[in-house]
Symmetry: C2
């Protein structure tokens, strides 16, 4: 028997979780939400809608758009996005450890 | 911001979680899976299929059927079902406390 779980944060609606974390990591790597969307098999408009929805729920910006130029512009993470990702990663690691320990205590 | 999570146990497929716990508690209260199914707005056959599926994954019986008689028979929990419910309830309580503590540590 094994443990499965899903954790996420909400305000009015979903605010943050594994999916958004994965998208933001990819934007940080690729410097572009359109490239990120392509790599994750999402439409660009769906990716922007999700980011806007999260930003509204969180109350701060996650991405800044860089204006066009020769490279066609791109997106980069805000300081608030980086801080949230770091907190969420630490929270996730400790949550996983705590849940695994309890699982072994009761079902190991 | 608030924490949301969903925890469940798996073997080959889903083995136990909040839904099955709720059904078993109701069977214990009503002494009947058919009454339980009615009260939870499930079909009787769906309820039996779920119980059989869980029993197969868990490797032990959850319910014993009582043969007909004047009352039309009924279902009661096996000792293994009671032990699993108790363990799962304790696990759930401690998991909730641990996750809430971590949530407050990082996002409180």
């Amino acid at each position: 028997m094994r443990l499965r779980y899903k954790v996420w944060l909400e305000t009015e609606g979903k605010a943050f979780g594994e999916g958004p974390l994965k998208i933001l990591r990819k934007v940080d790597e690729l410097g572009s939400l359109s490239k990120t969307a392509r790599e994750l098999n999402m439409s660009y408009s769906k990716a922007w809608k999700l980011i806007n929805f999260l930003e509204k729920n969180l109350g701060f910006k996650l991405l800044q758009r860089e204006a066009g130029g020769s490279g066609g512009g791109g997106s980069y993470l805000t300081a608030e996005a980086r801080a949230l990702m770091q907190k969420y990663e630490n929270f996730s690691l400790e949550a996983d450890q705590a849940l695994q320990n309890l699982f072994h205590k009761y079902f190991g």
